[in-house]
């Protein structure tokens, strides 16, 4: 799949929500744990060889499962396939839990749902729609429960 590489690399260089050296193991059989600089920027998890400027890869943190593996490790699983399970080893349980939390909350879909919740609660309690001031009240993507049909506009 083509993607705007330069912009994505540029994104990986920006200040991140969270970055640390973690042990990382890829999903393929025979993959071993390697030390990587792991960096969370928006809803992407970039991983670098330590001291390299260009990331080795970028994982999109949507539609994935985050599991705590044991005290200090967590894994991210895509498409529910074992062949797409990435393991990350942290230095402490606290670091591990913080990473898990950050990753889940970084997801665009998670943020969208939180927004819908707050919006409906505020509307319910005050009678006012808090999104009106932004001029985006009508946008399908912030409606509760409806799945908008794909429109040819």
């Amino acid at each position: 799949m083509r993607f705007n590489e330069r912009e994505l690399v540029s994104l990986s260089r920006q200040p991140s929500e969270r970055a640390a050296e973690l042990g990382m193991r890829g999903p393929k059989k025979g993959d071993v744990v390697k030390k990587r600089l792991v960096k969370l920027v928006v809803n992407f998890l970039f991983y670098f060889r330590t001291d390299e400027e260009e990331p080795l890869g970028a994982l999109l943190l949507e539609e994935c499962r985050v599991e705590q593996e044991d005290d200090q490790a967590f894994s991210i699983i895509f498409l529910d396939e074992a062949e797409r399970k990435y393991l990350f080893e942290c230095d402490s349980q606290q670091q591990c839990l913080e990473w898990i939390e950050c990753i889940v909350k970084a997801s665009y879909e998670f943020m969208r749902k939180s927004l819908i919740f707050y919006r409906s609660e505020i509307q319910r309690m005050t009678g006012k729609d808090p999104l009106e001031q932004y001029g985006i009240s009508d946008e399908a993507r912030f409606q509760i429960g409806t799945i908008p049909s794909i429109q040819d506009t």
Binding site: M1, R2, N4, E5, R6, E7, L8, V9, S10, L11, R13, P15, V42, N43, E54, L56, G57, L59, L60, L61, E62, E63, R65, V66, E67, Q68, E69, D70, F78, L79, R84, Q94, I100, E101, I103, V104, S107, Y108, E109, F110, M111, R112, K113, S114, I116, F117, Y118, R119, I122, M125, T126, P130, Y134, E139, R141, P148, I150, Q151, D152, T153
Partner: protein, 298 residues
């Protein structure tokens, strides 16, 4: 010279300039296309879809493509029914503007930052042009994060105002409101916490909605029984610069009272503010480092 360096040198010698650099990135940086395709095609709704004309960087001509906006990603493919997209734009740090072009109803998506490019698109009519520009401008992760923070703040304000006028035990607000709501949505990232056991694992699968609750519980079980100790531990684990707000004692009923939930929200909010402040400092540091490195390489 490492294997990668030799490889890069070969590529650049054969395809100098941008093409060589792009090739290196394509080979060296993995984008995990299948994961992106899955996100596009899974059950959560798309934000916008329609035909747009895309100016090819190579040929300069406009090609009609089916574009799909989902989250901060703009996918494109030949037709609506295609099984996987041809490509994707990650929409962070971009500006969207009307632009002059041979094509009518054209607009451009420009990226700032190192190596940022400009991509030209054209819609089929003015309404579509305006609608797409509006959608793309507000698609970024940063924008949504700002909205969420703002609404979260408003939500807490409304709760505390309501609480002021209503006795707490009659508060209609469920402190697990957010987590339950999120749990009721069927799609999205899910969290699985494992119980520790020698043989196999007991997996309590829960989705992102229960994340806050679960992570609070895991901290709680790590601490002693006394509620006061638990809340103190939570406070000290998080690097909060300002003075810690008072947390009322709570019964050991197992439920986290609304006030504590709100306070924890506030603590999270402070963390975000601290991160943003640190980001300012770091981005200045990064600039210094980049300038140093540029100077060194000359």
């Amino acid at each position: 010279m490492t294997h990668d360096d030799k490889f890069k040198k070969y590529i650049i010698s054969r395809w100098p300039g941008n093409l060589g650099e792009d090739l290196i990135r394509r080979v060296v940086m993995k984008i995990h296309g299948k994961v992106l395709s899955h996100y596009l095609s899974c059950c959560s709704p798309v934000d916008k879809a329609g035909y747009l004309y895309r100016k090819s960087e190579r040929t300069g001509s406009y090609q009609k493509r089916w574009f799909i906006l989902k989250g901060n990603l703009l996918f494109y493919q030949e037709r609506p029914g295609d099984s996987s997209p041809l490509g994707v734009f990650v929409l962070e740090g971009c500006s969207v503007e009307l632009c002059d072009s041979d094509e009518q109803f054209a607009f451009s998506v420009s990226f700032s930052g190192q190596g940022g490019g400009t991509y030209k698109l054209a819609a089929e009519n003015q309404a579509a042009q305006e609608s797409w520009i509006k959608a793309l401008l507000s698609a970024s992760h940063g924008f949504l994060a700002m909205l969420v923070r703002d609404l979260e703040r408003q939500y807490k304000e409304v709760i505390s105002e309501t609480r002021g006028s209503v006795p707490s035990q009659q508060s209609p607000l469920d402190d697990k409101g957010l987590t339950q709501f999120l749990a009721s949505q069927n799609y999205g990232p899910s969290l699985c916490m494992h119980g520790r056991g020698p043989a196999g694992r007991e997996c309590q699968s829960c989705n992102a909605g229960q994340l806050l609750h679960v992570s609070l519980i895991s901290r709680k079980s790590a601490a002693k029984r006394s509620p006061k100790l638990w809340t103190n531990k939570v406070i000290h684990e998080r690097p909060v610069n300002e003075s810690v707000p008072q947390i009322e004692e709570w019964s050991s009923g197992g439920e986290l009272p609304l006030e504590d939930f709100c306070t924890l929200h506030e603590l999270y909010g402070k963390d975000v503010k601290d991160l943003l402040a640190a980001r300012q400092v770091n981005s200045e540091k990064d600039k210094d480092v980049e300038e140093e490195e540029a100077a060194d390489s000359e």
